[in-house]
Symmetry: C2
Subunit: 269 residues, 2 copies
Protein backbone atom coordinates (compact mmCIF):
# COMPACT_ATOMS: atom_id res chain seq x y z
CA UNK A 1 0.00 0.00 0.00
CA UNK A 2 1.34 3.40 -0.93
CA UNK A 3 0.66 5.85 1.87
CA UNK A 4 -0.01 9.46 0.85
CA UNK A 5 3.09 11.57 1.49
CA UNK A 6 1.07 13.51 4.06
CA UNK A 7 0.26 10.33 5.97
CA UNK A 8 3.89 9.30 5.79
CA UNK A 9 4.92 12.70 7.12
CA UNK A 10 2.68 12.52 10.21
CA UNK A 11 3.43 8.86 11.00
CA UNK A 12 4.26 8.18 14.64
CA UNK A 13 6.06 5.34 16.35
CA UNK A 14 6.69 4.58 20.03
CA UNK A 15 4.54 4.77 23.14
CA UNK A 16 1.49 7.07 23.48
CA UNK A 17 3.35 9.33 25.93
CA UNK A 18 6.59 9.38 23.95
CA UNK A 19 6.13 9.37 20.22
CA UNK A 20 8.75 9.61 17.56
CA UNK A 21 8.30 11.15 14.13
CA UNK A 22 10.73 11.14 11.25
CA UNK A 23 10.82 14.50 9.48
CA UNK A 24 9.53 14.17 5.92
CA UNK A 25 11.82 15.53 3.20
CA UNK A 26 8.71 16.10 1.05
CA UNK A 27 7.43 18.86 3.33
CA UNK A 28 10.64 20.77 3.93
CA UNK A 29 10.53 24.56 3.85
CA UNK A 30 13.44 26.93 3.29
CA UNK A 31 14.86 26.27 6.77
CA UNK A 32 13.38 23.23 8.52
CA UNK A 33 10.02 21.56 7.97
CA UNK A 34 6.76 23.24 6.87
CA UNK A 35 5.03 24.36 10.08
CA UNK A 36 1.64 23.05 8.95
CA UNK A 37 2.78 19.46 8.78
CA UNK A 38 4.61 19.85 12.09
CA UNK A 39 1.35 21.04 13.68
CA UNK A 40 -0.51 18.14 12.05
CA UNK A 41 2.03 15.67 13.46
CA UNK A 42 1.61 17.02 16.99
CA UNK A 43 -2.17 16.94 16.63
CA UNK A 44 -1.89 13.36 15.41
CA UNK A 45 0.02 12.43 18.57
CA UNK A 46 -2.97 13.53 20.66
CA UNK A 47 -5.64 12.25 18.24
CA UNK A 48 -4.12 8.77 18.48
CA UNK A 49 -3.53 8.88 22.24
CA UNK A 50 -5.62 6.25 24.10
CA UNK A 51 -6.84 8.86 26.63
CA UNK A 52 -8.21 11.34 24.10
CA UNK A 53 -11.93 12.20 24.19
CA UNK A 54 -13.82 14.40 21.74
CA UNK A 55 -12.52 16.32 18.75
CA UNK A 56 -10.02 19.17 18.52
CA UNK A 57 -11.29 22.61 19.55
CA UNK A 58 -8.12 24.69 19.75
CA UNK A 59 -4.42 24.20 19.13
CA UNK A 60 -1.46 26.53 19.61
CA UNK A 61 1.98 25.46 18.44
CA UNK A 62 5.09 27.48 19.24
CA UNK A 63 8.11 26.96 17.01
CA UNK A 64 11.21 27.38 19.15
CA UNK A 65 13.63 27.34 16.22
CA UNK A 66 14.26 25.54 12.93
CA UNK A 67 14.33 21.75 13.33
CA UNK A 68 17.51 20.36 11.85
CA UNK A 69 17.43 16.79 13.14
CA UNK A 70 15.73 13.93 11.28
CA UNK A 71 13.65 12.74 14.19
CA UNK A 72 11.56 14.51 16.84
CA UNK A 73 10.28 13.11 20.16
CA UNK A 74 6.74 14.12 21.08
CA UNK A 75 5.53 14.04 24.68
CA UNK A 76 1.76 14.60 24.92
CA UNK A 77 0.43 15.09 28.43
CA UNK A 78 -3.24 15.25 29.45
CA UNK A 79 -3.09 18.01 32.05
CA UNK A 80 -6.80 18.37 32.75
CA UNK A 81 -9.72 16.09 32.05
CA UNK A 82 -13.02 17.92 32.43
CA UNK A 83 -16.52 16.58 31.92
CA UNK A 84 -16.86 18.12 28.47
CA UNK A 85 -13.28 18.92 27.43
CA UNK A 86 -9.62 18.03 27.82
CA UNK A 87 -6.47 20.14 28.00
CA UNK A 88 -3.25 18.76 26.57
CA UNK A 89 0.28 20.09 26.86
CA UNK A 90 2.76 18.77 24.32
CA UNK A 91 6.53 19.13 24.54
CA UNK A 92 8.64 18.20 21.55
CA UNK A 93 12.37 17.57 21.55
CA UNK A 94 14.89 17.46 18.71
CA UNK A 95 18.45 16.44 19.53
CA UNK A 96 17.49 16.58 23.23
CA UNK A 97 16.59 20.26 23.05
CA UNK A 98 13.04 21.54 23.27
CA UNK A 99 11.97 22.38 19.72
CA UNK A 100 8.20 22.85 19.91
CA UNK A 101 5.55 23.42 22.55
CA UNK A 102 1.85 23.02 22.03
CA UNK A 103 -1.38 23.54 23.94
CA UNK A 104 -4.46 21.74 22.69
CA UNK A 105 -8.07 21.56 23.77
CA UNK A 106 -10.30 18.69 22.79
CA UNK A 107 -14.04 18.86 23.40
CA UNK A 108 -17.21 16.90 23.09
CA UNK A 109 -18.89 18.97 20.40
CA UNK A 110 -22.54 18.76 21.41
CA UNK A 111 -25.42 20.17 19.39
CA UNK A 112 -26.03 23.85 20.09
CA UNK A 113 -27.34 27.01 18.51
CA UNK A 114 -25.06 27.76 15.55
CA UNK A 115 -24.29 30.68 13.30
CA UNK A 116 -21.44 31.74 11.06
CA UNK A 117 -20.73 35.46 11.29
CA UNK A 118 -18.05 35.55 8.62
CA UNK A 119 -19.08 35.40 4.96
CA UNK A 120 -17.84 32.85 2.46
CA UNK A 121 -15.51 34.82 0.17
CA UNK A 122 -16.48 35.29 -3.45
CA UNK A 123 -14.14 33.30 -5.63
CA UNK A 124 -14.13 31.73 -9.10
CA UNK A 125 -14.64 27.96 -9.11
CA UNK A 126 -11.55 25.75 -8.70
CA UNK A 127 -11.80 24.59 -12.34
CA UNK A 128 -11.65 28.14 -13.62
CA UNK A 129 -8.26 28.79 -12.05
CA UNK A 130 -4.84 27.41 -12.83
CA UNK A 131 -2.48 25.73 -10.40
CA UNK A 132 0.43 27.75 -9.05
CA UNK A 133 3.77 26.50 -10.40
CA UNK A 134 5.92 25.29 -7.52
CA UNK A 135 9.14 24.30 -9.27
CA UNK A 136 11.08 27.34 -8.03
CA UNK A 137 9.94 26.84 -4.43
CA UNK A 138 11.07 24.64 -1.53
CA UNK A 139 9.51 21.13 -1.39
CA UNK A 140 6.34 21.69 0.66
CA UNK A 141 4.23 23.72 -1.80
CA UNK A 142 4.61 20.88 -4.33
CA UNK A 143 2.52 18.70 -2.02
CA UNK A 144 -0.44 21.04 -2.51
CA UNK A 145 -2.44 22.22 -5.49
CA UNK A 146 -2.83 25.95 -4.89
CA UNK A 147 -4.99 28.11 -7.15
CA UNK A 148 -4.86 31.80 -6.42
CA UNK A 149 -7.72 34.24 -6.71
CA UNK A 150 -5.56 37.04 -5.32
CA UNK A 151 -2.36 37.67 -3.44
CA UNK A 152 -0.01 35.19 -5.12
CA UNK A 153 3.32 36.71 -4.11
CA UNK A 154 5.20 34.99 -6.93
CA UNK A 155 2.91 35.75 -9.86
CA UNK A 156 1.63 39.26 -9.68
CA UNK A 157 3.85 42.32 -9.45
CA UNK A 158 3.22 44.74 -6.59
CA UNK A 159 0.53 47.16 -7.55
CA UNK A 160 1.77 50.63 -8.37
CA UNK A 161 -1.71 52.14 -8.39
CA UNK A 162 -3.29 50.89 -5.17
CA UNK A 163 -2.21 50.46 -1.54
CA UNK A 164 -0.16 47.31 -1.07
CA UNK A 165 -2.23 44.63 0.62
CA UNK A 166 -1.37 41.56 2.66
CA UNK A 167 -4.63 39.83 1.69
CA UNK A 168 -4.63 36.57 -0.21
CA UNK A 169 -7.36 34.19 -1.31
CA UNK A 170 -6.69 30.80 -2.85
CA UNK A 171 -8.04 27.32 -3.24
CA UNK A 172 -5.83 24.55 -1.89
CA UNK A 173 -5.94 20.77 -1.77
CA UNK A 174 -3.50 18.02 -0.96
CA UNK A 175 -1.75 16.70 -4.08
CA UNK A 176 -2.74 14.01 -4.85
CA UNK A 177 -6.19 14.73 -3.43
CA UNK A 178 -6.78 13.35 0.06
CA UNK A 179 -9.96 13.40 2.11
CA UNK A 180 -9.84 16.17 4.72
CA UNK A 181 -9.35 15.10 8.32
CA UNK A 182 -8.16 16.96 11.42
CA UNK A 183 -4.43 16.60 10.74
CA UNK A 184 -4.75 17.79 7.15
CA UNK A 185 -7.05 20.62 8.21
CA UNK A 186 -4.44 21.70 10.77
CA UNK A 187 -1.79 21.66 8.05
CA UNK A 188 -4.07 23.65 5.70
CA UNK A 189 -4.15 26.37 8.37
CA UNK A 190 -0.53 27.03 7.45
CA UNK A 191 -0.90 26.63 3.69
CA UNK A 192 -0.08 30.29 3.16
CA UNK A 193 2.94 32.23 2.06
CA UNK A 194 4.18 34.82 4.56
CA UNK A 195 2.07 37.99 4.61
CA UNK A 196 5.25 39.99 4.12
CA UNK A 197 5.83 38.28 0.76
CA UNK A 198 2.25 39.12 -0.21
CA UNK A 199 2.40 42.73 0.95
CA UNK A 200 5.85 43.67 -0.33
CA UNK A 201 6.50 41.05 -3.02
CA UNK A 202 9.82 40.64 -1.21
CA UNK A 203 11.14 37.19 -0.37
CA UNK A 204 13.05 37.76 2.84
CA UNK A 205 13.77 35.66 5.96
CA UNK A 206 10.47 34.91 7.72
CA UNK A 207 9.56 32.25 10.26
CA UNK A 208 6.35 31.49 12.13
CA UNK A 209 6.95 31.58 15.88
CA UNK A 210 3.40 30.78 16.99
CA UNK A 211 0.41 29.24 15.19
CA UNK A 212 -3.09 28.97 16.59
CA UNK A 213 -5.95 27.00 15.04
CA UNK A 214 -9.57 27.06 16.17
CA UNK A 215 -11.59 24.14 14.80
CA UNK A 216 -15.17 24.87 13.79
CA UNK A 217 -16.30 21.37 12.83
CA UNK A 218 -16.99 18.32 14.93
CA UNK A 219 -15.61 14.97 13.78
CA UNK A 220 -18.86 13.83 12.15
CA UNK A 221 -19.30 17.12 10.26
CA UNK A 222 -15.72 16.96 8.95
CA UNK A 223 -16.29 13.35 7.88
CA UNK A 224 -19.18 14.56 5.71
CA UNK A 225 -17.01 17.05 3.82
CA UNK A 226 -16.37 15.31 0.51
CA UNK A 227 -14.29 17.81 -1.45
CA UNK A 228 -10.55 17.86 -0.80
CA UNK A 229 -10.53 21.58 -1.69
CA UNK A 230 -10.50 24.39 0.83
CA UNK A 231 -10.73 28.12 0.24
CA UNK A 232 -7.96 29.83 2.21
CA UNK A 233 -8.26 33.52 3.06
CA UNK A 234 -5.72 35.54 5.05
CA UNK A 235 -4.43 39.01 5.88
CA UNK A 236 -1.97 40.65 8.25
CA UNK A 237 -2.80 43.15 10.96
CA UNK A 238 0.52 44.88 11.52
CA UNK A 239 4.19 44.48 10.65
CA UNK A 240 6.49 46.08 13.19
CA UNK A 241 9.80 45.61 15.01
CA UNK A 242 10.51 42.31 13.23
CA UNK A 243 7.19 40.55 13.94
CA UNK A 244 3.87 40.48 12.10
CA UNK A 245 0.57 38.75 12.71
CA UNK A 246 -1.64 36.87 10.29
CA UNK A 247 -5.36 36.04 10.51
CA UNK A 248 -6.90 33.42 8.25
CA UNK A 249 -9.96 31.33 7.55
CA UNK A 250 -10.27 27.90 5.98
CA UNK A 251 -13.59 27.19 4.23
CA UNK A 252 -14.81 23.95 2.69
CA UNK A 253 -15.67 24.07 -1.00
CA UNK A 254 -19.39 24.17 -0.17
CA UNK A 255 -18.97 27.17 2.15
CA UNK A 256 -18.60 25.74 5.65
CA UNK A 257 -16.12 27.57 7.88
CA UNK A 258 -13.86 24.69 8.96
CA UNK A 259 -11.21 26.59 10.93
CA UNK A 260 -9.95 30.06 11.80
CA UNK A 261 -6.24 30.53 12.33
CA UNK A 262 -3.70 33.06 13.56
CA UNK A 263 0.05 33.33 13.46
CA UNK A 264 2.81 35.53 14.70
CA UNK A 265 5.92 35.47 12.52
CA UNK A 266 9.43 36.84 12.73
CA UNK A 267 10.86 38.75 9.76
CA UNK A 268 14.04 40.48 8.73
CA UNK A 269 13.35 43.36 6.34
CA UNK B 1 1.00 54.12 49.12
CA UNK B 2 -2.26 52.92 47.69
CA UNK B 3 -1.61 50.49 44.88
CA UNK B 4 -4.06 50.50 41.98
CA UNK B 5 -6.41 47.51 42.28
CA UNK B 6 -4.92 46.18 39.04
CA UNK B 7 -1.42 46.26 40.50
CA UNK B 8 -2.68 44.56 43.64
CA UNK B 9 -4.36 41.90 41.50
CA UNK B 10 -1.18 40.99 39.59
CA UNK B 11 1.13 41.12 42.63
CA UNK B 12 3.48 38.14 42.94
CA UNK B 13 5.39 36.71 45.87
CA UNK B 14 7.88 33.87 46.10
CA UNK B 15 10.82 32.75 43.97
CA UNK B 16 11.15 33.59 40.25
CA UNK B 17 10.48 29.94 39.29
CA UNK B 18 7.59 29.48 41.71
CA UNK B 19 5.44 32.53 42.16
CA UNK B 20 2.31 32.87 44.21
CA UNK B 21 -0.58 35.19 43.45
CA UNK B 22 -3.62 35.90 45.59
CA UNK B 23 -6.78 36.08 43.51
CA UNK B 24 -8.26 39.59 43.63
CA UNK B 25 -11.92 39.82 44.63
CA UNK B 26 -12.11 43.08 42.63
CA UNK B 27 -11.65 41.27 39.31
CA UNK B 28 -13.98 38.33 39.84
CA UNK B 29 -16.22 37.26 36.99
CA UNK B 30 -19.41 35.21 37.18
CA UNK B 31 -17.46 31.99 37.90
CA UNK B 32 -13.82 32.52 38.87
CA UNK B 33 -11.54 35.46 38.05
CA UNK B 34 -11.68 37.67 34.93
CA UNK B 35 -9.43 35.96 32.36
CA UNK B 36 -7.73 39.21 31.37
CA UNK B 37 -6.26 39.80 34.80
CA UNK B 38 -5.26 36.14 35.04
CA UNK B 39 -3.36 36.52 31.74
CA UNK B 40 -1.78 39.74 33.03
CA UNK B 41 -0.65 37.98 36.19
CA UNK B 42 1.03 35.18 34.22
CA UNK B 43 2.67 37.71 31.93
CA UNK B 44 3.88 39.59 35.00
CA UNK B 45 5.54 36.41 36.30
CA UNK B 46 7.69 36.27 33.15
CA UNK B 47 8.19 40.06 32.85
CA UNK B 48 9.67 40.07 36.37
CA UNK B 49 11.72 36.90 35.92
CA UNK B 50 15.47 37.60 36.16
CA UNK B 51 16.16 35.62 32.94
CA UNK B 52 13.73 37.53 30.72
CA UNK B 53 15.07 39.38 27.68
CA UNK B 54 13.13 41.63 25.32
CA UNK B 55 9.45 42.47 25.33
CA UNK B 56 6.39 40.26 24.86
CA UNK B 57 5.62 39.16 21.29
CA UNK B 58 2.99 36.48 21.75
CA UNK B 59 1.08 34.90 24.61
CA UNK B 60 -1.43 32.06 24.69
CA UNK B 61 -3.22 31.22 27.93
CA UNK B 62 -5.42 28.15 28.26
CA UNK B 63 -8.01 28.17 31.02
CA UNK B 64 -8.41 24.62 32.28
CA UNK B 65 -11.43 25.38 34.46
CA UNK B 66 -12.79 28.00 36.85
CA UNK B 67 -10.32 28.87 39.61
CA UNK B 68 -11.99 28.50 42.99
CA UNK B 69 -9.00 28.73 45.31
CA UNK B 70 -7.69 32.02 46.71
CA UNK B 71 -4.08 31.47 45.69
CA UNK B 72 -2.42 30.19 42.52
CA UNK B 73 1.16 28.93 42.07
CA UNK B 74 2.88 30.03 38.87
CA UNK B 75 5.83 28.10 37.43
CA UNK B 76 7.48 29.97 34.56
CA UNK B 77 10.09 28.00 32.63
CA UNK B 78 12.42 29.38 29.97
CA UNK B 79 12.39 26.49 27.50
CA UNK B 80 14.43 28.07 24.70
CA UNK B 81 16.76 31.03 24.67
CA UNK B 82 17.51 32.13 21.10
CA UNK B 83 19.67 34.99 19.94
CA UNK B 84 16.72 37.26 19.28
CA UNK B 85 13.85 35.67 21.19
CA UNK B 86 12.85 33.50 24.12
CA UNK B 87 10.18 30.83 24.54
CA UNK B 88 8.51 30.41 27.92
CA UNK B 89 6.20 27.68 29.14
CA UNK B 90 4.14 28.51 32.22
CA UNK B 91 2.23 26.01 34.33
CA UNK B 92 -0.16 27.26 36.97
CA UNK B 93 -1.61 25.26 39.83
CA UNK B 94 -4.59 25.90 42.08
CA UNK B 95 -5.20 23.49 44.96
CA UNK B 96 -2.44 21.28 43.51
CA UNK B 97 -4.30 20.80 40.25
CA UNK B 98 -3.18 22.32 36.99
CA UNK B 99 -5.44 25.33 36.38
CA UNK B 100 -3.76 27.28 33.57
CA UNK B 101 -1.12 26.70 30.92
CA UNK B 102 0.59 29.40 28.94
CA UNK B 103 3.07 29.74 26.10
CA UNK B 104 4.84 33.07 25.70
CA UNK B 105 7.39 34.46 23.31
CA UNK B 106 9.56 37.41 24.21
CA UNK B 107 11.66 39.11 21.55
CA UNK B 108 14.16 41.85 21.02
CA UNK B 109 12.01 44.19 18.95
CA UNK B 110 14.56 45.67 16.56
CA UNK B 111 13.83 48.43 14.09
CA UNK B 112 12.41 47.12 10.82
CA UNK B 113 10.16 48.07 7.95
CA UNK B 114 6.71 48.67 9.44
CA UNK B 115 3.16 48.95 8.22
CA UNK B 116 -0.30 48.58 9.70
CA UNK B 117 -2.70 46.84 7.35
CA UNK B 118 -5.78 47.19 9.54
CA UNK B 119 -7.54 50.55 9.71
CA UNK B 120 -8.22 52.47 12.89
CA UNK B 121 -12.00 52.17 13.37
CA UNK B 122 -14.12 55.29 13.11
CA UNK B 123 -15.50 56.15 16.51
CA UNK B 124 -16.79 59.19 18.38
CA UNK B 125 -14.30 60.68 20.84
CA UNK B 126 -14.23 59.26 24.39
CA UNK B 127 -15.76 62.46 25.81
CA UNK B 128 -18.77 62.22 23.52
CA UNK B 129 -19.79 58.83 24.92
CA UNK B 130 -21.14 57.82 28.29
CA UNK B 131 -19.74 55.16 30.56
CA UNK B 132 -21.47 51.80 30.69
CA UNK B 133 -23.22 51.22 34.02
CA UNK B 134 -21.71 48.20 35.74
CA UNK B 135 -23.80 47.90 38.88
CA UNK B 136 -25.75 44.88 37.65
CA UNK B 137 -22.61 43.03 36.55
CA UNK B 138 -19.98 40.91 38.34
CA UNK B 139 -17.05 42.83 39.91
CA UNK B 140 -14.52 43.02 37.05
CA UNK B 141 -16.30 45.45 34.67
CA UNK B 142 -16.42 47.99 37.52
CA UNK B 143 -12.61 48.20 37.33
CA UNK B 144 -12.88 49.58 33.79
CA UNK B 145 -14.52 52.59 32.23
CA UNK B 146 -16.15 51.23 29.08
CA UNK B 147 -17.85 53.49 26.55
CA UNK B 148 -19.62 51.70 23.76
CA UNK B 149 -19.85 52.83 20.18
CA UNK B 150 -21.67 49.65 19.23
CA UNK B 151 -22.40 46.15 20.43
CA UNK B 152 -23.15 46.79 24.11
CA UNK B 153 -25.03 43.59 24.91
CA UNK B 154 -26.72 45.09 27.97
CA UNK B 155 -27.93 48.37 26.52
CA UNK B 156 -29.27 47.90 23.05
CA UNK B 157 -32.04 45.47 22.17
CA UNK B 158 -31.33 42.93 19.43
CA UNK B 159 -32.10 44.46 16.07
CA UNK B 160 -35.27 43.24 14.45
CA UNK B 161 -34.49 44.84 11.11
CA UNK B 162 -30.90 43.80 10.39
CA UNK B 163 -28.84 40.61 10.66
CA UNK B 164 -27.67 40.03 14.23
CA UNK B 165 -23.99 40.86 14.54
CA UNK B 166 -21.27 39.81 16.97
CA UNK B 167 -19.29 43.01 16.35
CA UNK B 168 -18.58 45.45 19.14
CA UNK B 169 -16.55 48.63 19.37
CA UNK B 170 -15.84 50.45 22.62
CA UNK B 171 -13.37 52.64 24.42
CA UNK B 172 -11.92 51.20 27.61
CA UNK B 173 -9.57 52.37 30.31
CA UNK B 174 -8.60 51.19 33.76
CA UNK B 175 -10.67 52.89 36.49
CA UNK B 176 -9.10 54.91 37.99
CA UNK B 177 -6.93 55.67 34.96
CA UNK B 178 -3.61 53.85 34.91
CA UNK B 179 -0.77 54.20 32.41
CA UNK B 180 -0.77 51.32 29.93
CA UNK B 181 1.92 48.69 30.33
CA UNK B 182 2.23 45.11 29.09
CA UNK B 183 0.20 43.52 31.90
CA UNK B 184 -2.66 46.00 31.53
CA UNK B 185 -2.53 45.68 27.74
CA UNK B 186 -2.79 41.89 28.11
CA UNK B 187 -5.81 42.34 30.37
CA UNK B 188 -7.39 44.81 27.91
CA UNK B 189 -7.25 42.02 25.32
CA UNK B 190 -10.00 40.34 27.33
CA UNK B 191 -11.99 43.49 28.13
CA UNK B 192 -14.91 42.24 26.06
CA UNK B 193 -18.23 40.66 26.76
CA UNK B 194 -18.75 37.26 25.16
CA UNK B 195 -19.58 37.46 21.45
CA UNK B 196 -22.63 35.30 22.09
CA UNK B 197 -24.04 37.99 24.41
CA UNK B 198 -23.43 40.56 21.68
CA UNK B 199 -24.90 38.48 18.87
CA UNK B 200 -27.96 37.07 20.64
CA UNK B 201 -28.43 39.50 23.53
CA UNK B 202 -28.65 36.34 25.60
CA UNK B 203 -26.71 36.03 28.84
CA UNK B 204 -25.92 32.32 29.02
CA UNK B 205 -23.02 30.26 30.42
CA UNK B 206 -19.83 31.15 28.51
CA UNK B 207 -16.18 30.64 29.39
CA UNK B 208 -12.97 31.40 27.52
CA UNK B 209 -10.91 28.23 27.10
CA UNK B 210 -8.00 29.78 25.18
CA UNK B 211 -6.80 33.37 24.77
CA UNK B 212 -4.02 34.48 22.44
CA UNK B 213 -2.46 37.95 22.37
CA UNK B 214 -0.02 39.25 19.78
CA UNK B 215 1.81 42.38 20.92
CA UNK B 216 2.48 45.03 18.27
CA UNK B 217 4.50 47.51 20.32
CA UNK B 218 7.98 47.32 21.72
CA UNK B 219 8.56 48.41 25.32
CA UNK B 220 9.76 51.92 24.40
CA UNK B 221 6.82 52.53 22.07
CA UNK B 222 4.34 51.43 24.74
CA UNK B 223 6.07 53.69 27.24
CA UNK B 224 5.36 56.63 24.94
CA UNK B 225 1.61 55.97 24.86
CA UNK B 226 0.21 58.59 27.21
CA UNK B 227 -3.53 58.02 27.08
CA UNK B 228 -4.98 55.29 29.31
CA UNK B 229 -7.77 54.78 26.75
CA UNK B 230 -7.83 52.00 24.20
CA UNK B 231 -10.31 51.41 21.39
CA UNK B 232 -11.40 47.76 21.52
CA UNK B 233 -12.90 46.14 18.43
CA UNK B 234 -14.06 42.54 18.16
CA UNK B 235 -16.20 40.07 16.26
CA UNK B 236 -16.85 36.32 16.16
CA UNK B 237 -16.19 34.02 13.24
CA UNK B 238 -18.47 31.09 13.98
CA UNK B 239 -20.58 29.68 16.80
CA UNK B 240 -21.02 25.92 16.59
CA UNK B 241 -21.20 22.77 18.70
CA UNK B 242 -20.72 24.70 21.94
CA UNK B 243 -17.60 26.70 20.99
CA UNK B 244 -17.12 30.05 19.28
CA UNK B 245 -14.09 32.12 18.31
CA UNK B 246 -13.46 35.82 18.77
CA UNK B 247 -11.03 38.11 16.95
CA UNK B 248 -10.17 41.52 18.35
CA UNK B 249 -7.89 44.51 18.06
CA UNK B 250 -6.71 46.94 20.72
CA UNK B 251 -5.79 50.43 19.46
CA UNK B 252 -4.28 53.31 21.38
CA UNK B 253 -6.29 56.52 21.47
CA UNK B 254 -4.03 58.06 18.85
CA UNK B 255 -4.50 55.17 16.43
CA UNK B 256 -1.58 52.80 17.04
CA UNK B 257 -2.45 49.11 16.83
CA UNK B 258 -1.16 47.87 20.19
CA UNK B 259 -2.31 44.25 20.10
CA UNK B 260 -4.41 41.76 18.18
CA UNK B 261 -6.15 39.02 20.10
CA UNK B 262 -8.09 35.81 19.62
CA UNK B 263 -10.16 33.59 21.85
CA UNK B 264 -12.00 30.33 21.74
CA UNK B 265 -14.87 30.12 24.22
CA UNK B 266 -17.26 27.44 25.41
CA UNK B 267 -20.98 28.20 25.50
CA UNK B 268 -24.22 26.52 26.47
CA UNK B 269 -27.14 27.80 24.39
Amino acid sequence: MNLHLFDQAITLSGEPNLRENTISPAYQNMVGPFGGVTAATLLNAVLTHPDVVGSPVSMTVNYLGPIKSDVISIKPRLVKNNRSNQHWLVEVYADNEMALTSLMIFGIRVESWSDTDLSFPEAPAVDELSSMPTDMLPPWPSQYDMRFVKGNPFAEPKSTTSEPSSESLHWASDKPARKLDFPSLAAMCDVFFPRLFVHQRAVVPVGTVSLTVYFHVAADALEEVESPWVLAHARAGKFTNSYFDHTGEIWSQDGTLLATTNQMAYYKY
